[in-house]
Symmetry: C2
Subunit: 147 residues, 2 copies
DNA sequence: GTTGATTTAATTGTACACAATCTAATTGTA
DNA sequence: TACAATTAGATTGTGTACAATTAAATCAAC
């Protein structure tokens, strides 16, 4: 057993369960996000905007590991729904500033119960979750370094 | 510190590093996959087909956590490149059988060096990788149960 | 102070990813 | 045997992702 092609077995990859797990978890957000009319990408964008109140597309992209090609349509959608405002910075016209609206702030209250519901859906102990979290950020950290 | 909205902080989510990590790793495959003209999705599909020699779209989808909406265009693309053949099962005309071609088998040799290269890109010890692998499959396993 | 380089977003094109729907083949059951 | 239910795959529509390019604003060096 174990030929020279074992390295190409899907069960020997670390990337694959990562990829699959991410997709499956995002899929499981849908029942909780549908009622507040947000997609997963819109939700994580709103999370950062809720925290920052005001942020440039560049800074948002750095936090979410997303570029303007992805964020531009997402933010236009969020603006269209009335949750954010998009306006150029006076200091530097290149920067687009995303601002939270009153409706956007209101939405935060409704989103508040989602993390707990999702937490129950992932069947890991407190300790295992912490371990997983730490390993993932270790990888992300190493990626940020050699940017 | 720590208000009632802490649960909505992006840094308190487990899903987010999973999502980001998955994307970043897939992105890092590109330099290695470009030379053999495969995308990441095409690559993991080929991995299973290399192992199985012959598999239905349904079975492939179960292994990859992908449905026909995603796989149909991917497999048509792989057929167009000459790596697989698509043909209906004689036993049950509903089943589409994916078969490896000689060119598809040839490609396996060139892909062989990719896992090792990617392994170096993820800065985890042997033990940490094993831990991460185990945690991810624990989640995927729990998902498969309540299918 | 002007010009070349850099930076920020937007745009374009390609490729997923998935929900929802559709069609054809098969199965189960009365 | 009919016929309802199920199953497999394809199709359609929406929403990401990202590479590559573009355009405008700013910065840097002289």
């Amino acid at each position: 057993m174990g030929d020279k092609y074992d390295c190409l077995k899907i069960s020997n990859q670390l990337c694959f369960p990562l990829y699959a797990c991410s997709k499956e978890i995002v899929k499981r957000y849908k029942p909780y996000l549908d009622p507040i009319d947000l997609t997963y990408t819109q939700y994580i964008a709103m999370m950062v905007i809720w925290e920052e109140k005001e942020i440039t597309v560049k800074a948002l992209g750095d936090k979410l590991f997303l570029d303007s090609g992805t964020l531009t349509p997402v933010l236009k959608k969020l603006e269209q729904k009335g949750y954010v405002k998009r306006s150029r910075s006076k200091d530097d016209e290149r920067n687009l500033i995303i601002t939270l609206t009153d409706e956007g702030l209101e939405l935060k209250k409704q989103a508040c119960s989602i993390p707990a519901k999702m937490g129950k859906c992932v069947q890991l102990s407190e300790e295992e979750s912490a371990q997983l979290y730490s390993l993932l950020y270790k990888i992300l950290g190493s990626f940020s370094q050699d940017e």
